[in-house]
Amino acid sequence: MVTADTPAPPSTAAGEIAMATVTALRRTVPLPAVPGHLEYRYEEQCRTATVMEEDALNQPTAAVRVHVVLQFVCSPSHHPLLHQDVDVYIGQRRTALLRIGSPMRVGRTLEQLLAHMEPRMKQVLQVMSFSYTDITAALSDRVRLSPGNKGSIADSMRAFKSSPGYEITFSLLNPDPKSHRLHWDIEGAVQTYIQPLLTKLAPVANFSIDSQTLYYAVLGVNPRFDSSRSAYTLNADSLAHVINPVEARLGSNAASSNPVLNFLLYVPDAHHSPLYINDRKKQEVPSNAFHSPRWGGIMVYNVNGFYGPDAVFPVDININMAKVMGVFLAQLRLLLGVQSSTPPPGFQVATCGSVGLADWELDRLMWSRSVENVATATTTITSLAQLLDQIGNIVINDNIAQQVSSAVTSLQLAVAELEAGNLGFALQYSKEAILASERAFFDPSLLHLLYFPDDQKFAIYIPLFLPMCVPILLSLLKIVSEARQKRREKQAKKD
């Protein structure tokens, strides 16, 4: 049986896997909202193995590459990646497999075929690439593009703002050390679950991880006892008050000014367990966790099942880090702004593997971070310019001028690289632009309080101006009265 579908071989790059390419046709269509350009690639070849397909899917390439699987003949089930009801398969790398029906029904020529594929292709791009909504989200702090849309605001507010680095802090809250002696292998769990993701995210930002254990840390709300479930419950409405007393003890990182992502694991004390979180519909949240935008997440971990009623306190308890880290990883993805919007029907997205982040997701993140950085740096420079306009006699040192000009240069470079599709360089330059612009803006010599406003200068000289005004005013009065008298005399003469 001969299948004439196209498991796309690695493209024009050197060192490719040798595959028997019968015909190859390439059409390059540049699209504005896509990094780099979109390559349509049509290849026809005879194929026996699906291993190469896997190879192809794992091949890292610069631009989003869509592989179109054309099925000419017979049973569609022979393709292992495309199930019967799946039209589009999005891989971990920047690849996607697309199925179209029999070409006989769609058209004979390649152009017709491509035209038929266009809408699907756009959908694929919508999912995998940087789109208008991403720009909106990235710039949401500065531009309110659609004030009515609450959901998108919530989405965009959730992720942390772009920053050169993040501090990730895992805190184990043990409000009852007399009953529970908790052990968590945070070191191993971070190595296993968090570190692969952060290694992948290394081009976006620097991450530092630490963890702490806080004892006698209690939540700010007393959970209510639900007799039907014989458990304590926290309602979604009260979650906002939960954190305040805990946060006072979390502490910020004394040694850096990067934003802190807090992940709290709360083990309820023996008298208040089990503790469950209810959502707005009074339904129990299966993960028993919630997160707060731009702050972090909390997971409630009930341990009352691990010891009997006659247990001798304190009980030693080992925490299942796989369960905990699964939740924290999901929250971390959300907080970092890795948007996982639900794909359109018929799409299947590959699982992210141990890394937890697909290549195209990283691309999108780098895109939006670069755009956000560029916007931030531009705003900073603009407001600096406004400040300089306001205070005419401000002194600008050479180093500030240097910073500003380097910021502008980096900005231009970042935009240029962004246009060319070199995300890594664009992000790098945009970070440099932010650093330089902020260093200029927050330079202590540019504090506007250092400069006397003009009205105060005049106020100091009131003792001079006031007595000097007196004779002038008096003589003005005199002139007025004399003029009036003259007029009266004139009228009297006329009369």
């Binding site: 191993g188 004892y215 502490g251 004394a254 949240v285 993960s287 707060s292």
Partner: protein
């Protein structure tokens, strides 16, 4: 500059002596290396590495969102099942022993003046290495904020203290932990630090944030590098004082906002253990309050194979209960702290209360309720003391009422204290606002032994010391210091630093005087209340003082004869640091309203001149009849009085 010859042998002697910090406290030495647990990796991680965690969190619209975790792939569920079968159970005794350890302790000493001295010590030991390459750190008992400070700034040793009030050595004896009034900070950096001054500046700013104190006012004008006085108290052999920075802020006022962050560093907070007694409204209603944080590397075992970091949080307070207690000499924990003890901190490996009953061997001075059979002897500051010990980890301590409220009822008021062997005083002499003289008095109260004392003086630059007027006299004779280290000040850059090694003759007062000139500051350099005066930090006297135990040669105690011929060596001297009073010096202070007065005056003068000029220019002049002469005018007045028409 005074040119004295260095006497190297004496310097070496004191250096060696100081590097061994002997607060000979037998309690400390019993801390054994029971914490060195081997790093046992938790067994569960290996199986989980291949596991996938694919979550697709569906998100709601509101701010607080429930995280929904769907477990997507089937193999993950399988892995989960595998996990649940093993780890979530009661842990068998194979739990790796924690590498950190926490101890708490309270010492109460009734003072002869009728005051009560209470000293808390909380000690966290952690076997870790902050200077490792990777910065991932996982904290359990050690506070994260301080750990980050240590690793970021490559700190080897950090000592910070905040004190309100002055420790009256002559009435109260030696404190367990001396501290000068105000804030004191001294830090040893690792020798890998290249820019020590920059790191120091950053460190002070960060610490000022952590402790809510104005440590950010520490800059080069009040920082010195003592060459001999402050040696590292932990292990490590670097004594190059380039890596040492020392600064005091004598003006710093200590209050609740400094206590709260200090309490936050404790693992149990104020929820359990001895720390429940730390209520700020009581602690600050006292004659003396001092809180400190000491971080240093220490040996884990006596062979020093493993090292660990020690964080020691101390808080000392002196209550004046005699005056506030309506004349009754009686105190209890509840009276002092308005709390009683009910439990030990569950995280502490030891939690004890010590009451000093040395002066009360037969109970004739005071009565201690409840009585305890546990007694402990320790050599503290060269003196053998006896303590009643209450172990809070034993349930029996709390008795039937489940709370411990220690009560001391005094029976007699007399009783005298052994005078402290070393004692210092300081004052400013002279009159006028141009010159003055600093007098430092050092008392050696030992009847027959002389001992050397290291004196450290750090004087701000606006008191210009005339170092040629430096005199050291004891018993009306010139006493040549064997070591002098003097670093002159630079205006607005660095302070004077004077370090001297002086031998104090027995039973004498040694007086160090130096004259100074008061500088004129720029008008922006004055504090908001310049007429209050300017503080000069305490001088520091560091010394190895002969022990009182060794002084005991009349052998009143029954001892075998063969043991008493030579004074026992290991207790023969102990380290003491004594701080003198800070000085308050008036500087010539200008009248700060003067510039405005000058502006007002000159402006008025100018305005008046302007007015008359303006008048001259704008008035229209008319010719008047020439005025009458003086004689005619007088004649006219007389004529008017007579009723005759004028001329």
């Amino acid at each position: 500059m005074a040119a004295y010859r260095y006497s190297y042998s004496a310097v070496l002697f004191i250096l060696c002596g100081l590097s061994v910090f002997i607060v000979t406290n037998s309690q400390e030495t019993t801390l054994t290396g029971d914490n060195r647990a081997a790093a046992v990796d938790s067994p569960q991680t290996v199986a989980e590495t291949a596991e996938q965690t694919a979550e697709q969190p569906a998100v709601e619209e509101r701010q607080w969102e429930a995280t929904e975790v769907e477990e997507a792939s089937p193999d993950e569920a399988a892995a989960d099942k595998q996990d649940t079968s093993t780890p979530e159970t009661l842990v068998p005794p194979s739990v790796p022993r924690p590498k950190d350890d926490f101890q708490e302790e309270l010492v109460i000493r009734p003072l002869h003046s009728g005051d009560i001295y209470a000293s808390f010590q909380f000690r966290t030991l952690w076997e870790t290495d902050f200077m490792r390459g990777n910065k991932v750190s996982h904290y359990r008992l050690f506070p994260k904020s301080l750990g980050q400070v240590i690793s970021k700034f490559s700190v080897r040793e950090l000592h910070i203290s905040f004190t309100q009030g002055y420790w009256r050595t002559m009435q109260w004896g030696q404190p367990f932990l001396p501290a000068p009034p105000g804030a004191e900070l001294w830090v040893w950096f690792q020798d890998s630090v290249t820019d020590v001054d920059g790191t120091w500046k950053e460190l002070t700013n960060v610490l000022s944030g952590i402790f809510c104190a104005s440590l950010n006012f520490i800059d080069s004008t009040n920082t010195v590098q003592p060459s001999a006085s402050f040696k590292p108290l932990g292990i490590g052999n670097v004594t190059d004082h380039r890596f040492l920075r020392y600064a005091t802020l004598p003006r710093e006022i200590v209050c609740t906002e400094n206590l709260t962050p200090w309490k936050k560093l404790l693992p149990c907070g104020t929820k359990a253990g001895l720390a429940v007694l730390l209520k700020s409204e009581k602690l600050f209603h006292s004659s003396f309050h001092s809180q400190a944080v000491h971080i240093r590397p220490v040996c884990e075992d006596w062979q020093c194979k493993t090292t660990s970091w020690e964080l020691r949080q101390t808080l000392s307070v002196v209550f004046d209960l005699h005056t506030s207690g309506q004349g009754k000499r009686e105190w209890s924990l509840f009276k002092m702290f308005s709390r009683t003890l009910t439990e030990a901190c569950p995280l502490a490996s030891s939690s004890k209360v010590y009451i000093d009953i040395t002066d009360n061997p037969e109970g004739e001075q005071f009565e201690l309720i409840p009585a305890t059979p546990m007694l402990s002897q320790a050599v503290v500051l060269g003196d053998r003391r006896t303590f009643s010990v209450y172990d809070l980890t034993q349930q029996i301590t709390f008795g039937a009422v489940r709370s411990l409220n220690l009560l001391i009822r005094w029976k007699s008021t007399e009783g005298d204290m052994l005078r402290p062997l070393l004692h210092g005083e300081r004052y400013v002499a002279g009159y006028g606002l141009q010159t003055g003289e600093i007098h430092t008095l050092m008392y050696n109260n030992h009847p027959y032994r002389s001992f050397p004392v290291l004196l450290l003086d750090s004087v701000p630059w606006y008191l210009r010391l005339y170092i040629h007027t430096l005199t050291v006299t004891s018993k009306a004779k010139d006493n040549k210091p064997s070591y002098i280290h003097y670093q002159p000040s630079k205006d607005r850059v660095r302070p004077h630093l004077l370090e001297m090694l002086v031998q104090l003759p027995p039973n004498s007062v040694t007086e160090v005087t130096v004259q100074f000139e008061r500088a004129l500051l720029k008008w922006t350099e004055y504090t908001p209340d310049p007429n209050h005066g300017f503080y000069v930090g305490s001088s520091v006297l560091s010394s190895l003082v002969p022990s009182i135990v060794a002084m005991d040669t009349n052998s009143t105690q029954e001892r075998p004869l063969f043991s008493s011929f030579f004074p026992c060596k290991e207790e023969s001297s102990y380290f003491v640091r004594v701080y003198t009073e800070p000085l308050l010096v008036n500087l010539p202070t200008p009248d700060f309203s003067m510039p405005y007065n000058v502006i007002c005056l000159t402006c008025t003068v100018v305005a008046v001149g302007y007015g008359s000029l303006y008048n001259l220019l704008t008035r229209s002049f008319q010719i008047e009849e020439p005025s009458l002469g003086l004689a005619k005018r007088i004649a006219n007045i007389i004529r008017k009085m007579r009723g005759v028409p004028p001329l």
